[in-house]
Symmetry: C2
Subunit: 190 residues, 2 copies
DNA sequence: ACGACATCCTAGCAATGCTTGGCATTCTGT
DNA sequence: ACAGAATGCCAAGCATTGCTAGGATGTCGT
């Protein structure tokens, strides 16, 4: 095990991340339909087969982008929650607002995380920690004594996802989003 | 204008619908990724270009399937709502239950309506009446005096859509769906 | 210095959505 | 009744997609 192979390893890891960020940037600037393996290869200045030496296929690349997205989302939600004191309506409102903000400001990333087909395992022990962490930010907005707080979090999350996706695709008008958010939080926290 | 051209017109309309139902059946039995223009053409026993003489492209075919879906959804929701007396929690509960039932029992159709890219115009004057009708079933569950019942309906719909799509893709466990539904309806109706 | 190995690219495959060109058949005007 | 126009339809082809095979080039340990 020479230092040279270590350097190779480093370079390889670096290139791995390069592919992921290139895919993400391309998606964010031109949409996922513009992310083809050819364009992506060109962007990272390697040939197509190199992509496949790093990932099992295009879906795996999307999954990797999504995974990064979950990490960012978790951090974003955490910041929001900690801006409000303790569990309660204020915390939930902050987290929900941050969630919608994330979805509208990074639509391509959000798509990778929640809409596009990915290789990620969700409802299992293989659930990525980042996804669990993001979800927990919702859970932690409710009283720890509340036996059903996980369920509450699931419903809240579902509602936000629906609002994000339906308004982004123009199925509901986007303007009253804030008002919808207010109504949702008010009702959920009785 | 001979009767012959009328017959032609009829046959053409018939074939139009044939394409739509063939696309839907194919999607429902093997998923939308199996719906290719070639397989679809083979199924209706015409050549590919015939599809394009009826529709502007594949997306337009998906849109047509979705449109049929909205009609069915509206009828399904209406039946549910009328099984409960007047506006109120019971009506809303029935409609919400029917919505989730529709989504889980016709996943491919639901996908065409809400997830796949389509040509349909939503938040405009060109909104298909069937979609508006389905939406109104939610609105009619709330008190007519309620100034914000449209907003309530939007939030309810969003939550249901989120629950449907997140549980279908395995992002939240599917079992407690009924419990989530109960919680949602209870909170929304104060 | 040389064989073994890793790295990377050119070229190609099958499948996809969509279009072109031309062949029948049918309709229309005289 | 019949030539020319219009229509309906299909075989074949185009460009693009995700993905892979095979070989060229360089690197490593000995």
């Amino acid at each position: 095990m020479s230092t040279i192979s270590e350097r190779r390893e480093r370079e390889r890891a670096h290139r791995h991340q390069l592919i992921i960020t290139a895919a993400r940037e391309l998606a964010e600037s031109e949409g996922w339909e513009a992310v083809t393996t050819r364009r992506l290869a060109e962007r990272v200045e390697y040939s197509q087969p190199v992509l496949y030496s790093h990932f099992n296929g295009k879906d795996a690349i999307v999954s990797a982008v999504a995974l990064d997205g979950f990490t960012e989302l978790a951090a974003h939600l955490r910041r929001a929650r900690q801006s409000a004191p303790g569990p309660g309506q204020a915390a939930l409102r902050a987290v929900c607002h941050a969630y919608l903000e994330f979805a509208t400001e990074r639509p391509a990333l959000y798509q990778a995380m929640f809409i596009l087909p990915t290789d990620l395992k969700f409802a299992s022990s293989e659930t990525p920690p980042a996804l669990r962490a993001a979800f927990d930010e919702f859970v932690d907005c409710f009283d720890p004594d509340n036996r059903r707080r996980e369920l509450y979090a699931e419903v809240t999350w579902s509602a936000l996802h629906g609002m994000a996706v339906l308004s982004d695709s123009g199925r509901i008008p986007p303007e009253p989003q804030e008002e919808r958010l207010d109504f949702l939080v008010t009702q959920i926290t009785r």
